[in-house]
Symmetry: C2
Subunit: 312 residues, 2 copies
């Protein structure tokens, strides 16, 4: 494992960078990828970001990125925790990554060199420190990228991965011209009319069990079709049942094509979500995990109720 | 208007404090009130907070406050912007306030001395700076109070009143032992079952006008009675209509006893919420304001729709 100084020297010593992001890209992988890209370009290097797609709400992250034509020599990954997360870039890049920069303690990505800081709230927090070591001038555009990654990975400083460094870095990024109000509004304060309709429909599905300590919500393919809603809008649904006072296990069931449900489990207190999902062949983090269960709505829900009552 | 140094000298020179909070107390008035109280007690003074009530989710703010019996000599207010906000304390305290500490630029409270900093995100931000001037040791309990006020008034650092100072103060409060994860969970990630039912009912009331640029929701006394919900649970409702994509004016109508509606207006873009509410004799901030309108649901809503269509 490299230290941050060595990462800075590595980036200064090489050129012609391709920067990989993870599949289903989020604010942190895109923010750290594009920030690194602009920083390297500022240092006179060639660089581009390789991403499966950029959801429209993240398109502002590309402001300030120069389009450069070159033959790649050096492959970096930003916020990619495992080989399986390379998505459609797997065939072209697996095994060819020269340097992996990440904040997931569980990182298992195949890469020649690594810098993983599990105490960083976001990969963007690492990149901020790295750019300072490299004497990169943090422009407004770079600041917007870094703030986006930090705020999205911490739920705007709500989650317990937020530390004092996180808040101080965010303060500095504000002073560097980052448009925090616009970013926060776009990331956290905007719901499409369809999303509002979806939440309303999902509220109608809330069922409590285990004396109110477990809450289950669901979406069906029918609901999604009727509301004309895509998978993009599903983000955040899983946090609804856990938010309910007294609930220790919050379960979200999403019907998928092929006769099965994708299950997201979020827990409070000492309940282990990963153990819960392991009963159904899934896994994840202690407070957030997932699994898939085949069957009809009522049958799947009854299995989950039974498992919840056993756990609680 | 005093400066912060003079406020510190004032507090050191006097004794036997009663600290007033505003009616329908929120995290900032309670956090700044109890933080000041503990700070004055630490300085060897007598102090107590006078509040109409403390909602149960804020009871932890009282940890570390000593119960003292004394005859009051000095009356301070924390986060009280106007005489009308003294609520049930009006008769006993109006005109008797020695020092007003607040962050509302619109402050019109009757008080002998004032310190109002409109650039502070929260009154708790002012109190943090004040306690440093007074060489108060910021205990975990004081840090919990200050963080609560800052995080609740900034929507956990989302709103545009958040500045670099705000984030750095929050960083310092974390290092002073403030339990940010528990506070954020209680403030932002927990909803009572009744609140969930209320949101579900309110979603059913959404009406769009002005080509979808205005959204209006409402609650009635009947709804509140049927759901067995108190005013405590109404917090946060007002942010629902403004969140909807494309909405520039989000309006929340709450029916009150006495044949009138309390109106909360939240705006996006350049729309001035205070100007909008001034049409109905109300006022507030550029992006968040309020007023009261007498009449029946449909009549009041039609007036609001007309005003919105004129504005947009």
């Amino acid at each position: 494992m490299m230290n941050l100084y060595e990462v800075a020297r590595f980036l200064e010593a090489h050129d012609n960078y391709e920067i990989l992001t993870h599949a289903y890209p989020d604010g942190d992988t895109l923010g750290s990828g594009f920030a690194l890209c602009m920083a390297l370009q500022q240092k006179g290097k060639n660089a581009r970001v390789i991403t499966t797609n950029v959801p429209s709400k993240f398109l502002y992250l590309l402001n300030g990125v120069k389009h450069q034509v070159f033959e790649p020599d050096t492959i970096i990954s930003a916020d990619v925790a495992a080989d399986g997360l390379l998505g459609s870039n797997t065939d072209a890049y697996l095994g060819k990554i020269d340097l992996c920069i990440d904040h997931h303690g569980s990182n298992t990505l195949t890469a020649k060199e690594k810098f993983v800081d599990r105490y960083a709230s976001a990969t963007c927090e690492i990149v901020y420190k790295l750019l300072n070591r490299m004497n990169v001038r943090i422009t407004k555009e770079i600041a917007d990228c870094l703030y986006t990654g930090i705020s999205t990975d911490t739920g705007c400083f709500r989650y317990s991965n937020t530390n004092a460094d996180t808040l101080r870095i965010a303060a500095s990024l504000m002073e560097l011209g980052c448009d925090t109000a616009a970013i926060n509004k776009a990331m956290f304060e905007t719901k499409s009319k369809e999303k509002i309709e979806l939440e309303r429909a999902v509220y109608d599905t809330i069922m409590y069990c285990a004396d109110g300590k477990c809450a289950i919500i669901y979406t069906t393919l029918d609901m999604m079709k009727k509301l004309n809603i895509g998978d993009d809008e599903m983000e955040g649904l899983a946090s609804i049942p856990r938010q309910i006072e007294g609930v220790l296990i919050g379960i979200t069931m999403r019907e998928k094509e092929g006769g099965f449900f994708k299950i997201s489990v979020r827990t409070n207190g000492n309940i282990n979500a990963s153990d819960f999902c392991a009963k159904f062949g899934g896994g994840g983090h202690p407070a957030a995990a997932g699994c898939s269960i085949e069957g009809k709505l009522d049958d799947v829900r009854n299995k989950l109720i039974k498992a919840a009552e056993e756990t609680l």
